[in-house]
């Protein structure tokens, strides 16, 4: 939520101001009032944002308010742990390489802050160095944990992030897709094993809409969820590719016609429907990979689940009189389906029709207005009008929404973005099956051949919403190459890291250790945990003991240093007696430093109760003197 960001900035500014001016803390009552206000706003907006986002916003708000009211070390630690949790939440929404690096940096900074609080160190160089050392120690453990820990399915499900605008919707009102086309978010990437489809054949089917109410196309109840019978066989040329789909809020997946699923998602089952779509059982909330074989030459006549295709002739009974009249005048029932399609398409060949992302609003009888008055529209306008006319002409027709085109990267990967969203029409012929016809291609042939950007007459239209969009940079070859390189890195990242699951874990371990029985595999995992545990124990347990006996350590250092020089402490000697005895045989620096060490040690060790200096300061002094002594002795 935008206002939460504003609150964040405000609280940082106030905290900074307070630190500068050393002003008194805010009153608790003010903070409490502010908190109540914020919480009520969050509750007010909760239904729009969904549970997960509201909860995260709540955390952010509480974090901001707590920052205004920091008193004890505990407060700082609490804020830091909330922020760690928030970073974890952030990873629900963003998993790309860039965000991962960003979050890692945040975590390191948090650790720096925590460490600084813990050791009460103010020199940022010192504590950041120490923290980095600690973090680097943690990296191998993290890697081992990532690669070796059994990948179990999560025990609970994360609540759904509601309100994400991404993806196609299950209803289409002309104009919807135009909004989508202004987003350059990635939808999916397809990696082809062999040949690539031609640009004009890259129709990625997602949703089929069959019910029209005069304005909006939607999915009828009857058409939902009819799986394709498995005995159906396809022939002809086929393309093999794997798709990595970004998270979406719908369960429609993307494929070229006609898809056969080779390997499904690791998390859930995918259904092939009778409308040649792929559909996951639940919305895809994380990146998912599936492998498909598409028979691109196969006509779409293999199967039609509805014996009665008259269902696809449904039209609203009233409205759009001009269109009805036009169709009835121009189409005779004796024409073949193909002829009817051509005849109707001829309407769009008229030069007056314009392809635009920002068509004027058409409220009443939208198809009439579009066809005979405004003559300006986006693909959804053309598809909607075409399908409507076909139905009036007694040809069963439906609208398919999905994506068309995509950007070709190296190594046979096509990435498809939201601005590639498209809608086209399919008409039913008894013999030919479903025929794809795309009226947009007639109005703006470049849309299909070269993508959205080249087909818009006014390219500023596309840009005005996101001035910093990467696609702006296409004009500069170098920058475009850079962009493509980044996209490729991101692709590798999602391929190798985000896709890492039980299967890849097994194959990785197999690569390293050779074949393993499940039993020895589990032993190996347990073994690795034990090793990590022992490692951590070795790292931390002795340190605790040493901390207690820090002073003892100083002594041992001094004695061992001097013993190397042949000065042995007698059992009954105290440090002072020892240093007095041997100092004549040391050089002046060494004896001076030894005397100083003795003094500091006695001061600290034997008068703890009355000592005013903090231990850290004594420790510092001692360390410096010990190194001086060491250097002096070596001379």
């Amino acid at each position: 939520m935008g206002w939460v960001l504003v609150l964040c900035v405000c609280s940082f500014v106030i905290t900074g101001y307070k630190a500068q001016k050393n002003s008194p803390p805010l009153k608790n009552s003010v903070l409490n009032l502010l908190a109540i206000l914020c919480i009520s706003i969050i509750i007010w907006l909760a239904s729009d944002y969904g549970l997960l986002k509201s909860m995260i916003n709540l955390l952010v708000v509480s974090c901001c308010l707590k920052i205004l009211n920091l008193h004890h070390t505990g407060d700082y630690q609490m804020v830091a742990s909330i922020q760690l949790f928030l970073i974890g939440c952030g990873l629900i929404f963003h998993q790309s390489l860039g965000y991962s690096i960003f979050y890692c940096c945040l975590i390191v900074m948090l650790f720096c802050a925590l460490h600084a609080i813990k050791v009460r160190e103010t020199n940022y160089k010192n504590y950041s160095k120490q923290t980095l050392l600690l973090v680097l120690q943690a990296v191998p453990i993290a890697l081992v944990l990532f690669f070796v820990t059994p990948k179990l399915n999560p025990l609970w499900k994360m609540p759904v992030a509601k309100g994400s605008q991404t993806g196609l919707s299950e209803k289409m009102t002309p104009g919807d897709i135009a909004n989508l086309a202004k987003s350059d978010e990635l939808v999916f990437r397809a990696e082809f094993a062999g040949d690539l489809p031609k640009p004009q054949e890259r129709y990625w089917r997602a949703i089929v809409l069959d019910e029209f109410d005069g304005k909006t196309w939607s999915i009828s109840e009857r058409a939902k969820n009819f799986p394709l019978p498995s005995e159906v066989q396809f022939q002809g040329k086929s393309l093999d590719y794997s798709v990595i789909a970004e998270p979406t809020s719908t369960n429609w997946l993307y494929s070229l016609d006609i898809p056969i699923l080779i390997q499904g998602l690791s998390t859930q089952r995918i259904i092939s429907t009778q409308q040649f779509q792929l559909q996951s059982r639940t919305p895809l909330h994380s990146k998912g990979l599936y492998v498909v074989k598409s028979f691109i030459e196969q006509p779409l006549n293999i199967y039609n689940g509805f014996e009665n295709t008259s269902f696809y002739l449904q039209t609203p009974t009233t409205g759009n009189p001009k269109t009805v009249e036009y169709v009835l005048n121009n189409i005779s029932p004796s024409m073949s389906t193909r002829q009817k399609i051509d005849q109707l398409n001829a309407l769009f060949a008229d030069d007056d029709f314009k392809y635009s992302l920002t068509p004027p609003l058409m409220q009443t009888n939208p198809i009439d207005q579009f066809l005979f008055d405004k003559k300006t529209g986006f693909c959804s306008h053309y598809a909607s009008a075409m399908a409507y006319m076909l139905r009036i002409a007694n040809v069963p027709a439906r609208i398919v929404t999905g994506y068309q085109g995509g950007e070709l990267q190296s190594n046979n990967v096509i990435s498809v973005h939201q601005f590639d969203a498209h809608a086209w029409v399919e008409a039913w012929d008894k013999d030919l099956g479903w025929i794809r016809t795309d009226p947009t291609a007639i109005v703006a042939p470049n849309r299909v051949l070269a993508g959205l950007l080249s087909s818009l007459e006014n390219r500023a239209e596309f840009r005005n919403e996101s001035p910093f969009s990467l696609s702006l940079l296409q004009d500069y070859a170098l920058l475009n190459n850079l962009r493509l390189l980044l996209a490729e890195i991101d692709h590798t990242w999602s391929q190798s890291i985000l896709r890492y699951n039980q299967e890849s874990q097994k194959s990785l371990l197999k690569k390293i250790f050779g074949d393993m029985s499940p039993r020895s595999f589990s032993y190996a995992i347990i073994g690795s945990f034990v090793v990590i545990g022992i490692f951590i124990a070795l790292l931390f347990i002795p340190r605790q003991r040493e901390n207690k006996k820090e002073e003892q350590k100083w002594l041992e250092t001094v004695f061992s240093l001097l013993e190397k020089q042949g000065h042995r402490k007698e059992n009954s000697e105290t440090l002072q007696q020892f240093s007095q005895r041997i100092s004549p045989s040391l050089n002046s620096t060494a004896s001076k430093s030894l005397r100083y060490i003795t003094k500091v040690y006695y001061q600290w060790h034997y008068s703890q109760k009355t000592h005013s200096e903090p231990f850290a300061a004594v420790k510092d002094k001692m360390k410096k003197q010990l190194s001086t002594l060491k250097a002096a002795i070596k001379k």
Binding site: L555, K569, E570, N571, S572, E573, T574, L575, Q576, Q577, Y602, H605, Y606, S607, Q608, K609, T610
Partner: protein
Amino acid sequence: MQEKIQQCIHAIGQQIKGKDAQIELALICLLSKGHLLLEDLPGMGKTTLSQCLSAVLNMQYARMQFTSDLLPADMLGVNIYEPDTHKFNFHAGPIFNQVLLADEINRASPKTQSALLEAMAESRVSIDGKSYDLPEPFFVIATQNPLFQSGTYPLPESQIDRFTMKLSLGFPSKEAERAMLLSESQSHEVTEVLTASELIELQESVSQVVVSEPVVDYILSLVNASRDSQEYPNALSPRATKAIYHCAQACAFVNDRNFVIPEDVQFIFSAVTEHRLRGQDQFAASTTLLSQSLLDKVNPMAA
């Protein structure tokens, strides 16, 4: 306050040359509210030391020569019938002084010895069912001749334990003796440095000196070493432990420190423990000090 103590040491040092360590120890004993036993051959300056101490501290001083026929009443005092008033009147003995020099204590009979030691422990005396408080501060300096001399009644272990310290002055060095001879002609008045009330104040401050955990550990491991080993016929008693503790505090105080270090313990250790460790039947034993062997055994830096 510490300067005054240094002045004391200096003033006494004028009279007894070359024995600064013993003088300091004697003062430490006094500051820790203990009693002092001086053991040496006749003519070594025991009496001079005790006289100087009382003079410097400006305390009432009495000297008693202990002999084999000395009776407790001679020391404590006695109720005497007054024919004029027909009443018994208490005549206080020499023990009612702030400093009592009990000369040659081991010549007196055990009965008299124990009477003195009782008074030392309790700071009061009971005569005919009535108890009398002794003055404050109360400090006994006893001297004894080495035990191999004839006509002595050795003090039993239980009683010698009550002396906080036992010191020997020993023969002076050549230089010290020369200085003694040369300064003989000039008569030195010992100037008083402290008053009795100041001494009480000092004793109070001594008990405030910090004894840190490591030093306590050191003292305990020294004491326990004497108990664990067979070499020591008489192990150190808890009273000895307390004496070490308090003397170490006083030693730190004399050295102008408000916390005790192991050197303090080592400095006072032999004086405080040697007479307790050795007992009386081993007077002919080896010349090495038992207390020193204890110190050698324990590492002061271990804790």
